[in-house]
Amino acid sequence: MSCHTHFGYPQRPEVADIVTHASFNDPSCEVGKEIYMSVALSAQDISRALTRISHEILEKNHGSSDITVLGIPTRGAHLAARIAAIMSSIEGKDIAHGTLDITLYRDDLRLRAPRAIMPTSIPPTGIQGRDVILIDDVLYSGRTIRAALDALGEVGRPRTVQLAVLVDRGHRQLPIRADFVGKNLPTSEKQSIRVALTEIDGVDEVVIEGEAN
Amino acid sequence: MSALRYLLKGGQILGGKAADLLIADGRIAEISASISDKDATVIELKGSIVLPGLVDLHTHLREPGREDSETVASASRAGAKGGFTALSAMANTSPVADTAGVVEQVYRLGQEAGFVDVFPIGAVTQGLHGEQLSEIGAMADSVARVRVFSDDGNCVFDPLVMRRALEYIKKFDGVIAQHAQEPRLTVGSQMNEGIISSKLGLKGWPAIAEEAIIARDVLLADHVQSRLHICHVTTAGGVEIIRWAKARGIQVTAEVTPHHLLLTDDLASSYDPVFKVNPPLRTSKDVMALREALADGTIDIVATDHAPHTNETKDCEWAEASFGMIGLETALSIVNKTMVGSGLMDWAAVADRMSTAPARIGRYSNHGQSLTVGSAAHITVINPTKSWVVDRDLVVSKSRNTPYHGYELPGLVTHTFFGGRATMLDSKVIDKVVQK
């Protein structure tokens, strides 16, 4: 009489949506189309950028005593852990860090199938009156960060909220800007940026792919 | 009555050799290899099967009392559409047909409609309450000449009442048609008791509630030497008991509905109450046993148990819905599909199960005479090469509760003749011209 389709509930996103090394030479890639693929950041570039960002954060905030680093899952969370580790080795003490999942605050939920909710873990020191450093891999329209600000607002009232991203690719749709940027990569909207991190993807690199214009 | 002549050319008589058949003055005038008659309307029937007019021993006409779902007239038209020339009006109307007055009224309505002979069935007990015998004699002696008595809808559950009824009808050459359902085992039952009902959370109607009554009643019929008919047998166990009884010479006959020859209880999984019926759809094991029994004659007849219901009583949750399916218009196609198509029966056997035998059980002397020269021209034609898709919005009956909506059925009933009058030509019902 009627079809009840399974939800097709998504599993946590893993390697499926990124280009790995192997597929660069994949003969099944489309032929006859001008596909532009290039490595924008190598593993070394990423490492240097994260180190620089870590120093910049500490400099701007006069040390780490009031800082809480929160990464936005999935890759932002790993970057946050790395940045916290770097800052910790610079300062010689532990840095408060955790994750902030923004899925439930997104404004575009209805446009796609339901997304899995990622863990949110606020460190014991909390965010009240502290300087929160949000970490994400790519800054694009700004909507993710808007959702993160809403999510933070439910948790408490930080003194400041600052934003550090590995890549800023432009095309903002909201008045949002990053305080700390690994690399500015101007792109066209037809292109896409793929960030690969060792913790998930087995390799560190940032790739631009797609037609240039 | 105008003296219409029809020449049916080239149809296979009872599924046998092709021949021509001439209808004149309401009778079968001639059957032979080639007939010519310049006054007759010629109907080409090459490839079609010519059967005696179908006789239904179990029909719910709903009038008097529930005319919103069906009337004698609308049911008669639906019967003509299905190839029937005789219907038996079950007694569970409102008021119940337990007096001569009601049965004569139903009889007259059937005559007025003029599509089929309507033979009223009389209730066994007053008001169908199962306590006091109804006026069986008065009904038998009335214009309606009732011979079949049934409380169908209800079971005559009290063994003493059943015994007395079986004894009493002997005086009137009657037969008690029992709706076998032990009430204590089926309180609130919704569907067959089994794996499906346990999954669906619907209260079960166990097979033994039917079998226990059949067993009791065949023994009673034997003890008092009377005629018993079992309505709508649905279980393999019931079939075995009837087979045993017949082997001992007990005067028991039995019927099966078309839907119990085809449909099974897993259809209830949709919770669509179009599949809710009493007695319920059962398992494929039961369906197979019923088909074999109909083929070997353990089950004597096919009867539709045509049960019209208005939309509101089916357009709701299962537990709230009425029990029953319409079936006059699809009966012969279903029998074609399940029995002839599967090779279990030939058309001559179909004629026996759907015309000769029911007429004999009901004592309908003017029907079921097979296709013999001189007999009344009650004739049904089916074209087995044509299939058709059932559309509930196009049914002739007043109600739309058919379980076959959207199904394609093999075999289309094309022509029906009732006493020589064409009640259906080319699958279109022909209404009477009112003569002043």
Binding site: Y9, L109 | S198, G201, W318, A319
Partner: protein, 315 residues
């Protein structure tokens, strides 16, 4: 349109996804955040044609914590109790614009009829239909079992659960048997023979009439409510005999494995199927089931309503 009418509507992955989502939501709810904007602007109708306070409040709390608007329609004193058909009630509520209907009804299959016949658009969530199913209860039960006994695994493989009581009339039992076995648990049904349905042999569970032999070997015991009416309907002689053979009293509780937990979907008949001190004991997770219920129902609403139409092959 996506519906949750039966556990059969879910794959194991779907079910685990709901449990995982509920786990995250529980963490959020335990913190300061009590309200999420996720379903802002959506309207959810609670169509409760059968009395139930706890399930209705649970769904209502879940919907409100996701900022959805809730319309409550209960049978008592409504047009439904005066004979208005389910169909008419549904079409009236539809005219008010509902994104989802949470329906509880005394007729098995009522939720499916609502979904199939499309008297209302929007998702249909079965909150208990007759004796058929109660999917959200099974999900919160699985969540509870996983939380206490799961040892970090995503499913329930290797766990043994006993469901005890009136299985014949229990939609909670039906949904739980389907879900727990789907997630890898072994289920044993314990009941007097009169309260097991014909056809139960085909269920993915074993059967026992002997409660005492089952108790030491299971990780969770789920007691089902036994209604007093079952005695007049000849299912067992009287409550004394029922309790003697199938009641969870302190003596039986002490025979349980050390880690094993006691569950009950509620409402309880203290003294009939479960002794008061067992219900209040440290092993009992009955009160926690209620909290888990809100989180699991939030997860269900999120999965059904937050996303847009499913894309084939979407990740």
């Amino acid at each position: 349109m996506r519906h949750l009418l039966s556990i059969n509507d879910l794959s194991a992955i779907d079910a685990i996804g709901i449990l995982d989502t509920a786990t995250e939501l529980a963490r959020i709810n335990d913190g300061q955040v009590k309200k999420l904007p996720t379903l802002r602007g959506r309207t959810i109708v609670n169509l409760f044609a059968e009395d139930s306070t706890r399930t209705r409040i649970s769904f209502e709390a879940a919907a409100k914590r996701l900022s959805a608007d809730v319309i409550n329609f209960s049978a008592k004193g409504s047009s439904l109790s005066k004979g208005e058909s389910l169909k008419d009630t549904a079409q009236t509520l539809q005219a008010m614009g509902a994104d989802a209907v949470v329906i509880r009804h005394s007729a098995s299959g009522a939720a499916q009829r609502l979904a199939d016949l499309e008297w209302m658009s929007g998702s249909v969530i079965n909150a208990g239909d007759g004796t058929h199913e109660h999917p959200s209860q099974a999900l919160l039960d699985a969540f509870t079992i996983r939380k206490h006994l799961g040892k970090g695994a995503s499913d329930l493989t290797g766990l043994r659960v006993a469901i005890v009581g009136d299985v014949l009339h229990s939609r909670v039992a039906r949904s739980n048997v389907l879900l727990l076995s789907m997630l890898g648990a072994d289920v044993v049904l314990v009941a007097p023979p009169t309260l097991l349905p014909v056809g139960v042999e085909s269920w993915p569970a074993t059967i026992s009439y002997d409660f005492d032999s089952v108790i030491p070997n299971v990780d969770a015991i789920m007691m089902l409510r036994v209604q007093q009416e079952r005695m007049t309907d000849l299912f067992f002689p009287n409550s004394r005999e029922y309790s003697r053979y199938f009641g969870l009293n302190s003596e039986r509780m002490s025979a349980m494995a050390k880690h094993a937990i006691v569950m009950h979907p509620g409402p309880m008949n203290r003294g009939l199927e479960i002794a008061a001190d067992v219900a209040d004991s440290a092993r009992s997770v009955i009160v926690e089931q209620v909290t888990n219920g809100v989180n699991v129902r939030m997860a269900i609403l999120y999965v059904l309503l937050a996303g847009g139409p499913l894309e084939v092959g979407s990740n």
